[in-house]
Symmetry: C2
Subunit: 139 residues, 2 copies
Amino acid sequence: MNNYMQIHKYLKQFDIKPSVQRTAVMDYLMTHKTHPTIDEIYSTLSPFMPTLSKTTIYNTLNLFVEKGAVLHLSIDEKNARYDADISNHAHFMCKRCGKVYDLFDLKQELFNKPQLKNFDIHSVEISYSGFCGTCTGMN
Amino acid sequence: MNNYMQIHKYLKQFDIKPSVQRTAVMDYLMTHKTHPTIDEIYSTLSPFMPTLSKTTIYNTLNLFVEKGAVLHLSIDEKNARYDADISNHAHFMCKRCGKVYDLFDLKQELFNKPQLKNFDIHSVEISYSGFCGTCTGMN
DNA sequence: TTATAAAACTATAATGGTTACAAAGATAAA
DNA sequence: TTTATCTTTGTAACCATTATAGTTTTATAA
């Protein structure tokens, strides 16, 4: 079974009808774990899909987020970022270079939804910011 | 000592030169713990300060955040939100009514900055979202 | 297969939050 | 008082996102 069919199956698990465009976007997110912006996704895919519209990227990602297949990250004030890894993990954004990194090795308790009687919590986002090792020369 | 002078002293602690406008904005943030948007701050202050410009609100809040006197919240994708309470606490945003609530009663460990050799972490933002009690009728 | 309806995609325009810029005003120093 | 610096202001520009309407594709059913 090829990758295209695997992604089809994966999308269907989230009640998302596969299409060429949707499959390409999910494929991009799965193979580029860089928390890309809309523009990055569009710029990369566009040469291979000449009729592709940026609106479709917007529509597709809004659908993915709505269906729970993709995380919308608000860590970057300038542009929305997207992440196909929906497992519990946090993010770090370097204030100098702007890269967004995954932080997997944190205690899982961090991601527990607090049980509060006045709030029905659906999602958690844990974001750190500062300088990355590449920018400080400390790695 | 009046409130105006107290706020002057407070701003100076953050190396911020007080001015009428800056004092008014900090006063607003301290007395309105609703995590207001730029527009809300401007709309409220404007009638009392007829020459006030919205650009000044932007400039002022950018300065406050830069100096560490105010937190910029990215929990609301639509508008930046600001919080004069810089102590460790998390936020909850209701996806129906849009209100942003403070969550103070969480374990302080949540706000510990993980010691990672490749990342120099300056700040932490913990955001929850879902439905609030008012919107679900459950309180 | 063909006709019809629904869904998805596309291009363009509109929206709206934020920043850039330049001029005017206020403050501080000499 | 003069000069320099900082702050504020209004306008214009920018740019990410959404709205809209038309086209294309896909699904349904006769």
